[in-house]
């Protein structure tokens, strides 16, 4: 039966309260993920699973590990770790394991026997060449779900040998061709959108494959190309090309589906103005000077542009809220960091890490009332959890581990910024 009016907001305040999260169960508890990946596409996939409670074992090649460790904004390292590496590797167990020697492969196969999911983003076919690809893993572990993330897919003319980064996918998919201004070159998104978008798609397919496994007991391989992931996001680009034979063009900051909705310059910043239909266009036209309610044409990009240019961002937002169209400020990382709304939602959150102390992060976007996601700890140096994983999980003795360290099958961090623990910490 219908509840009391307004009760949903009260329910939501209680049900999603970030302070209650530590006491709640995790959605993916009991799922173990092996990550053999570097940079962003693979690590972000595993990160998204880890945020919701999967146990992620990140397998890195000792002693330098994931090359993302050395991607540092303006060359800046904090406590010997790059902030760009931190944000991709929450809640993970870090092991240093070389998959080239036979003993390394065998250790990996043993880890896989105890795992549910493998995520990799090496060049297509590399894991198979090394003898630890899907076909080899499923011999011993038919229930394994294997996500093969790559630029161009595991098969097809471009699959062999071609490497790919985020911007490869932005470029070859057509995404950049429709981003930016018509009289300017195509614009590369300044963040690694071609990696994250594909990573989220990979993590989504992994959950679908786990649902299928529940019914059949069988795992499977997922082949995801990051370029194809970006192609899938380009909405009406493809039916437009198919029906008109033409390229969709760059349209600058105005959304060609909802003109004059777009991003506009104000006196003190930028604002997004949005009008989805007549119900919003009429008040918008009125705000920018129409005298007759029928004159929605008055809400042209020029008029809206002039209206915003002479006002502050908060004025435009307030006028929109009073009048009945929509507006929101263009915000950046500094705004997010200080935003009480995002803090209250746990979307910007603090984690008290045993090695680094307080680290602030973006938390998980979907808020689940019963089994919420969370950031439990931050990224760690190469091999930080070797004893925990090889000892506790695989049951190896200290002597066995030492022997493998001597043979360089397993190992820990190189003594360089990015790989090693903070100065003065006692591992």
């Amino acid at each position: 039966m219908p509840s009391d009016p307004g009760s949903f907001r009260a329910f939501a305040g209680r049900a999603f309260d970030p302070a209650a999260i530590p006491g709640k169960p995790e959605a993916l508890a009991g799922i173990r993920v092996l990550e053999v990946a570097s940079r962003i596409f693979g690590p972000a996939t595993a990160d998204y699973l880890g945020l919701f409670g999967a146990e992620v074992i990140k397998v890195e090649m000792p002693p330098r590990g994931d090359l993302m460790r050395y991607v540092a904004p303006e060359g800046f390292f904090w406590k010997e770790v790059s902030p760009a590496f931190l944000s991709l590797n929450r809640n993970k167990l870090h092991v240093g394991l070389d998959l080239h020697p036979a003993e390394g492969k065998e250790l990996f196969l043993r880890l896989a026997e105890r795992s549910d999911v493998v995520v990799e983003n090496l060049r297509a076919g590399t894991m198979d060449e090394w003898g630890v690809g899907y076909l080899q893993l499923r011999e011993r572990t038919p229930r394994i779900v294997y996500a093969a993330n790559s630029g161009f897919g595991q098969w097809g003319p471009y699959s062999a040998g071609r490497a790919s980064y985020d911007a490869t996918a932005q470029a070859v998919s057509g995404f950049s061709a429709v981003t930016g201004f018509p009289d300017q070159p195509p614009m590369k998104a300044g963040f690694w959108v071609g990696d994250y978008t594909a990573a989220l798609m990979s993590a989504t397919a992994i959950l679908a494959a786990l649902a299928a496994r529940r019914k059949t007991g069988e795992g499977q391989m997922i082949d995801l190309s990051q370029a194809e992931a970006m192609i899938r996001t380009l909405d009406w680009t493809w039916p437009y090309a198919g029906s008109t034979g033409k390229d969709r063009v760059r349209n600058g900051n105005v959304d060609p589906s909802y003109p004059p909705s777009g991003i506009y310059r104000c006196r003190d910043g930028f604002v997004a103005v949005s009008a989805r239909d007549e119900d919003e266009l009429i008040p918008l036209a009125h705000a920018v000077g129409a005298t007759d309610p029928e004159e929605t044409w008055v809400a042209s990009t020029e008029r809206v542009g002039a209206f915003c240019a002479s006002r502050r961002v908060d004025e435009v937002v307030r006028i929109a809220e009073d009048a009945g169209f929509s507006a929101a400020p263009v915000r950046g990382g500094k705004d997010h960091y200080h935003d009480p709304h995002l803090r209250a939602r746990g979307t910007v959150c603090s984690v008290d890490d045993p090695l680094y102390g307080r680290v602030d992060e973006y938390g998980p976007a979907p808020k689940l009332s019963e089994s919420p996601g969370r950031v439990k700890w931050s990224a760690k140096p190469v091999g930080w959890h070797n004893e925990r994983v090889f000892g506790d999980l695989l049951g190896m003795t200290a002597g066995e581990m030492e022997a493998l360290v001597r043979k360089k099958v397993i190992g820990k961090w190189a003594d360089v910024p990015g790989a090693r623990p903070p100065k003065g910490s006692t591992p």
Binding site: Y158, A171, A205, A327, P329, G373
Partner: protein, 439 residues
């Protein structure tokens, strides 16, 4: 094709998908997202994995059908709606009328997942908010999508959710686009720049589907349903790199730098004879490779470029771009790819990490054989909407492949099927409701 690639092709080719089982078979998703693209994406993604999706539209059709860039309408429906209207049944009902609300509630109580973009207040008034439904259906998973989310100080802000609002708040446009030069009035393009597609809406839908799948996993373990609250702004925000960690550790915010990058370089688009191509070679070994490829090996010892840190100083990025374009200007993107592949095939490890790829216009992407072979696009045929070119589901899966099964149908096409087949309505009841304008 070699052993593994050959096996992978045979196991995952979209043409063999139809005979295989589906991952989410047996999960029913009810989509109530009038005028909203992100909600459609959430339902589409679940439906591509095999969930049974039912889209509820007002009797005269979803307002998103009328959104028509360049005024292109196909049988009254615009291309954005047509691009995402897949694998679902289309029912209509009048949610402003008590009989229609009752119908909606019956549908909701027969579903596993609700996806809605309507306000909590409206859903409450319909008796179909999460607290109302879970009493009768405790396993229900209830996804609500909005700009700001359902709780927190800004949750009640009066906006109607859209891609541009979510993009603006997400921090994405803030770091896309050309900076101002500080020499007079900025030009229009020297501004935070929107992603040209509806990436905000798309990512909102994708995180929504992910949240639902995590909740369904939990339900399979415990029997418990739950509510999933998702802000579209926060969805894209999660992709905004190291914004927060850098603020926290270094007190710095990312700013826009055009096609440059504050953390990796070279990592940019370079002009070539037939347009632009992407080039990346940012670790020392890869940079050494690239300098050999362009015939300037001495530059690895140039103090401006000799370390990753020096290479990401903005003035050095500009200087290096100029050097790269001297080389690339009279070569085609394919020639650049050939030169890179020839050199890197002889090097392993980090030295092979020179990466390139042409900045394709959509028609150029469509002309490439690779995507055709991989079944990346499909042509749907429908008596009403004719032939349409669409992006296929991107996942190739060996066991339960995602797949495209059906395209757009007119509003209410599946009313009879759904109302008789799922709700068990009699012919008489159906006729009465149709006559009363309930759907």
């Amino acid at each position: 094709m070699s052993g593994f690639a050959g096996w992978a092709r045979k196991a995952t080719e979209p043409s063999v998908a139809a005979g295989k089982p589906e991952a989410l078979e047996g999960i029913r998703v009810l989509e109530f997202c009038p005028g909203h693209f992100g909600g459609m994406v959430a339902a589409s993604v679940l439906a591509e994995f095999g969930a049974e999706a039912i889209k509820v539209e007002p009797p005269d059709g979803d307002p998103l059908r009328l959104v028509a860039p360049e005024d292109i309408l196909v049988a009254g429906t615009g291309l954005p709606f047509l691009s995402e209207a897949r694998n679902r049944r289309f029912v209509t009902l009048d949610a402003d009328n008590p009989a229609g609300r009752d119908l909606f509630r019956r549908l909701a109580l027969s579903s596993d997942v609700i996806v809605t973009t309507e306000s909590p207040e409206r859903m409450e008034a319909m008796g179909c908010d999460y607290p109302s439904l879970r009493g009768e259906r405790p396993g229900i998973v209830y996804l609500s999508l909005s700009t700001y989310g359902a709780f927190g100080p800004d949750a009640s802000r009066p906006v109607r959710d859209s891609d541009i609002l979510c993009q603006a708040l997400s921090g994405a446009p803030y770091i896309v686009g050309e900076p101002e030069r500080g020499d007079g009035t900025p030009l229009p393009h020297q501004a935070p720049t929107r992603l040209g597609n509806w990436h905000g809406g798309f990512v909102q839908g994708l995180w929504g589907a992910y949240g639902v799948l995590a909740a369904l996993h939990f339900r399979a373990e415990t029997g418990k349903g739950q509510a999933v609250d998702l802000s579209g702004a926060e969805s894209l925000m999660m992709f905004a790199d190291y914004n927060i960690t850098w603020m926290h550790t270094g007190g710095k915010a990312r700013e826009r730098v055009g096609n440059f990058d504050p953390a990796v370089f070279p990592y940019t688009y370079i002009r070539c004879r037939d347009g632009y191509t992407f080039i990346a070679a940012y670790n020392d070994e890869a940079f050494d490779s690239l300098m050999h490829i362009i015939g300037r090996p001495e530059l690895t010892r140039d103090p401006r470029f000799s370390t990753p840190k020096n290479r990401v100083a903005l003035e050095n990025e500009r200087a290096l771009l100029e050097i790269l374009e001297e080389w690339s200007g009279d070569r085609t993107a394919d020639e650049i790819l050939g030169a890179v592949e020839e050199y890197t095939s002889k090097r392993g490890g980090p030295g092979a990490a020179v990466v390139t790829g042409r900045v394709n216009r959509p028609l150029e992407t469509l002309s490439e054989e690779h995507w055709r072979e991989r079944g990346c696009f499909l042509r749907s045929r429908d008596p009403v909407y004719g032939e349409l070119l669409l992006a296929a589901p991107p996942w190739k899966m060996s066991g339960t492949p995602a797949r495209w099964k059906s395209g757009c149908r007119p509003p209410g096409s599946d009313n009879r099927d759904v109302y008789l087949g799922i709700l068990g309505m009699t012919e008489e009841e159906y006729r009465r409701m149709a006559e009363a304008g309930t759907f």
